[in-house]
Symmetry: C2
DNA sequence: TGTTGTTAGTTACAAAATCAACTATTATCC
DNA sequence: GGATAATAGTTGATTTTGTAACTAACAACA
């Protein structure tokens, strides 16, 4: 048997990060998909609006690092389903001010609570110090610091 | 301005993990895509074969946690481009023994070296202890322990 | 033996992501 | 003011992924 193993894929950081990301997103995905029929980009847009109130598509894209076509389609779907409302900006009529509808607010609060619990359950696997370090390192790696 | 911010998306672990994974994969992706026209699943299959020698599609799927349809398509493309060869298993003619061709071996060694350097560059942002802890935590989160 | 169930892998169709080109509006600067 | 460039967002074509159904080969057991 040629067990060469001259490289340890299971230690390669981008690989590990992807596997951990995928695994850790799974259960949460089932919630926003199952309860609200949302896609990944859609809950992210929902959260940004829930956290910051009115924003334009470009502002959301900049904060979340999502490409404008993805945002555009997510906004469309969220608007169709009445989770958000769009209103042309008077100052710059190219852009729209996006805001959550009451239904959007409700979905946001629901998912936010799920996210909090979910995050806590993940964090509970480690010590407080470990989790703090993890978040710090991930932020640095994500270019979010 | 309604800066509610009653939730910190930038601290939500699944979100952070995804952002870090995406960011940290980018430059490596450009290498395997640019040099060999490979997709994510393809370099993973390549690496598993490079590390372990002959494997069946199912074995690769089990190790890498990739669905069989993805594997099937990745194997097809890698075979078309002569990076691997397929040979029906005599004992069980449902499965195929997959192995890298010389071209596949060369691509593997090249990308493996890139991955090593790349991993080192990421790790260099932190102390040795921090990186060891990070890998440990990611493995646990990925269910790889 | 033959019926039933399981496993390996492929294929077809639908859903989603990617990339480039496009419209509409605003900004720049001669 | 008017030409040119830049920006906000959308759309269409292509690629990639996901889901389910499928074929072929093997296993179990009456």
């Amino acid at each position: 048997m040629s067990e060469k193993s001259d490289f340890a894929l299971q230690d390669f950081l981008p690989y590990l990060l992807n596997q951990a990301a995928e695994e850790s997103s799974l259960a949460f995905q089932q919630v926003y998909k199952g309860r609200y029929g949302m896609l990944r980009t859609e809950w992210r847009v929902l959260f940004h609006l829930g956290m910051h109130g009115e924003l334009t598509a470009t502002e959301i894209g900049a904060r979340a690092r999502i490409h404008k076509t993805k945002i555009s389609r997510a906004v469309q779907r969220l608007a169709e389903r009445r989770f958000l409302s769009r209103q042309r900006n008077v100052r710059d009529r190219r852009s729209e001010r996006l805001a959550l509808t009451p239904a959007g607010e409700a979905a946001y609060r629901d998912l936010r609570d799920v996210a909090r619990e979910y995050d806590a359950r993940i964090a509970a696997q480690f010590t407080t110090g470990e989790v703090a370090l993890l978040r710090m390192m991930l932020k640095r790696l994500a270019g979010m610091d």
